[in-house]
Symmetry: C2
Subunit: 489 residues, 2 copies
């Protein structure tokens, strides 16, 4: 589409000024509405080197209260970021409800640069495109407004600008080798940009090509499109979103009432096996670290099922420098104001590290579903969103292990009563636990649906029988060890 | 996505039956809601030969009142259809508001077949994909629910079914050479289908892959997805749609007040030129016919500007077997119930023919805009939709000529008064003409915007100065002749 595009005629100076003033004024009004309607806005500013992206952002934000926006400059990846999935640093930057984020170069630039440099195979390119389309859809499906601008200048204009920058001492540093290379291979880049724009031009997050040959005119195009995009998004509150088919390979899971809960293990065998398995896991952890394989372990289960003790037995075997346990409670206000997966994206381990989640993103289809913290459309959509999320992690190379720690209702009652009656355990039991217990049957329906719909070949669920907690711990260790050995082979 | 997909486990017979009954019942209820909310639903049933598409449709429609749906079987293209743009026959089939259309093979099949047979170049394939994405977006943007199903069976199952059909005399005719060829080249088709599904899987019109190894189970998948899709669409009434950027190459147009209206032509010169130009046009018409080039001429202009007489001078020169004039008034109820472009798609000329539109799809951005017959979002979106429509026609090979017949306000008054005072002309003037005249200034704003935004290199506007009607007629003939000569070179 970039190749077919012809710039609109630039308005005369007087008209340009008037429209710029009007657009700035309008944006100043709209920022308050965004705040009020809790609309989060992601603005991608992409395009050629020296096309004036930075100065356009500089001009636009003049109309916005500094508390309501952030500019994220995506320069070279830090080591931290290189060791995370490629979308990590973009997901981390998404704004809170009611605020703007301007990305000075977003994800388009990263992919196009790799493609132009010949560093992505055809297959890898298509896989990245799929990831990006999913990512953008997950944002827009969850109420984000995503506006994507491409700043277009001709080869000649780019050359002229680079020359001017290089001439002056103060600005010469702004011209990188990459800029020069891009200008030299302009036609190749044009091909790559054109293809990328076509591949990712979707109705929910369309591209706008900005004629960037002149600064003020470029600013006006962005401002006016921004205002019109916000106007439309404000009309579409509480939009229901189509439920996409789960095209991920599912593993058949038993229903919870089909799980036998009679497995036991003797005290001596337990101690012996525990020691042996932990030392095996410990050795594996070092090998993972050297091979830079990231590992994600998820614990979900009934209250008092024994998650904490189970996690402890895994963690004991690990080098503290190479793992982290994330206890997941209700989201904090700044977390609640973002996409529900944001607090998990930002807690992903680095390559070679292990992250253990004590409760997780599955809250969306359990507690958030049952307590009405999200709409029906939201949690129904979440199965696919979660499978997409875990697919992203798996493509990155992560080993994903998910445990459902299972007990029966009577066992829970016993343990609750014991906690209640034992002073040093009383902190572990709250009113909320008792309230949740009353909803056992509803939870069972939700858990069964979750197990059926999110157990994929690349991130399967494992049900841990935990009436005998020792049995469950040994099982968990065995499953983790098996999964890691497979990944290391 | 087809290649990664693994079928969900089929439910047990009892559950299957219960869910089928429930889904049929639900659909029966939903059809009334669809009617009530005026939701048009397009259901594409695509997939492998012998996958059971027909019988699935047969089962689904059992729950629907026959007045509320139509099944369109897209078999071989009739000659009529071959001489129209490839989307013509699909656009022609779109349902009225409140009704279903089931397409037994839709547009996916056509493209995939051509691609598998090696009859589309890479560039042609991408161009078709772009056309299809635009088409589907134009439907969903204008309130259509588009559901796309792909019926998947294995190579082995397909072979088995084809064998069974061939064995019996009654069914042998149902197996085509194409089916056999497809089974023989299963892997190739799988590749093509997979690519197509990925390329056209958009949030507004996503794909659902149906496990079609067993009939009832396939029906259930379609029924349940259909119901859930309708549920969601019903929640999204009066949705505002993002305004896409006009990425089509625009030609600069003057504003109406910049057009001089002083051109004149003498009676004698007129007669002479008219005769000469008409005979030239006549000769060109035969050449166009032989070269099978379709021509579309659009007339828009002020009331009493002289459109009728102008069209007459063009038509006189044409062979009546090769052209048609379409006078466009307010839409009929069955037209109003469909996408606003439907009545124009269905009036497209065959290749080699000429269609003259006396008023046209530009009503959307003039009368419909000013009289509030559509929402602001609707007419703002229409500039791009119209450019896309004309792009489709131009890619098909059509010559598109658009006239704005221009007079000033005083001239209109003169002509109105003359009509009023001349008994044989009184039928030409109505109360509405006087009412429209009062809105002259509003119309002028709308016309100027239309001219700026829809004059593309492939379908430019021509302003005809028509204070002297004879001058305008000679000009129109010259412009038409020039455009046709260019196309014939």
């Amino acid at each position: 589409m970039l190749k077919e595009w012809i710039a609109e005629e630039k308005p005369q100076a007087k008209e340009l000024k008037e429209r710029l003033d009007a657009a700035h004024e309008k944006l100043a009004v709209l920022q308050m509405k965004i705040k009020e309607h809790k609309l989060p806005v992601v603005v991608l500013i992409e395009g050629w080197g020296a096309a004036g992206k930075g100065s356009a952002i500089g001009s636009i934000i003049r109309s916005i209260d500094p508390r309501f926006f952030k500019v994220a400059s995506m320069a070279e990846k830090a080591e931290e970021e290189q060791r995370r999935p490629f979308l990590y640093r973009y997901f981390a930057q998404i704004p809170e409800a009611g605020k703007f984020v301007f990305l000075d170069n977003g994800w388009a630039d990263e992919i196009c640069e790799l493609k132009a440099q010949g560093e992505l195979s055809r297959e890898e390119y298509h896989s990245r495109i799929d990831s990006i389309k999913r990512f953008e859809r997950q944002l827009t499906d969850n109420g984000y407004l995503v506006l994507k601008f491409f700043f277009q200048i001709s080869r000649k204009e780019q050359k002229k600008r680079l020359g001017e920058l290089e001439e002056k001492k103060d600005t010469a540093w702004r011209v990188s080798d990459r800029d020069r290379w891009q200008n030299k291979h302009y036609d190749k880049y044009l091909e790559v940009f054109d293809r990328y724009l076509r591949d990712t031009n979707v109705a929910g997050a369309p591209w706008y090509i900005v004629d960037a040959e002149e600064k003020k005119w470029a600013q006006l195009q962005v401002l006016e499109t921004l205002c019109s995009g916000i106007d439309i998004a404000l009309q579409n509150e509480s939009l229901a979103v189509p439920l996409l088919q789960n095209v991920f390979p599912l593993v058949k899971m038993p229903r919870l009432d089909e799980v036998s809960l009679d497995k036991k293990i003797g005290e001596d065998t337990y101690k012996e096996e525990l020691k042996q398995l932990q030392s095996k896991l410990s050795a594996l952890h070092y090998r993972l670290y050297r091979k830079k394989i990231p590992v994600i372990i998820v614990y979900e289960g009934w209250d008092a099922a024994g998650k904490g003790g189970n996690i402890k037995r895994i963690a004991e075997a690990l080098d503290p420098r190479g793992y982290e346990v994330h206890p997941i409670a209700s989201p904090e206000p700044h977390e609640k104001a973002r996409h529900y997966l944001w607090r998990f994206w930002t807690r992903l381990p680095k390559t070679g590290h292990i992250a253990i989640f004590d409760r997780s993103w599955y809250g969306r289809v359990m507690v958030e579903r049952l307590e009405g913290f999200c709409s029906t459309n939201d949690w129904q959509r979440a199965y696919n969103e979660i499978n997409e999320f875990e697919k992203e992690l798996s493509q990155w190379g992560a080993v994903i292990i998910k445990f459902w720690v299972q007990i029966d209702k009577d066992t829970q009652l016993e343990r609750f009563t014991d906690r209640q009656n034992t002073p040093e355990k009383q902190w572990k039991i709250t009113e909320e636990d008792w309230r949740n217990r009353e909803k056992w049957d509803d939870y069972e329906v939700a858990v069964n649906e979750m197990l059926q719909k999110t157990s994929t070949t690349y991130a399967p669920w494992h049900i841990l029988e935990s009436v005998d907690k020792r049995y469950a711990r040994i099982e968990a260790l065995k499953i983790v060890i098996r999964a890691l050995e497979e990944a290391l082979d």
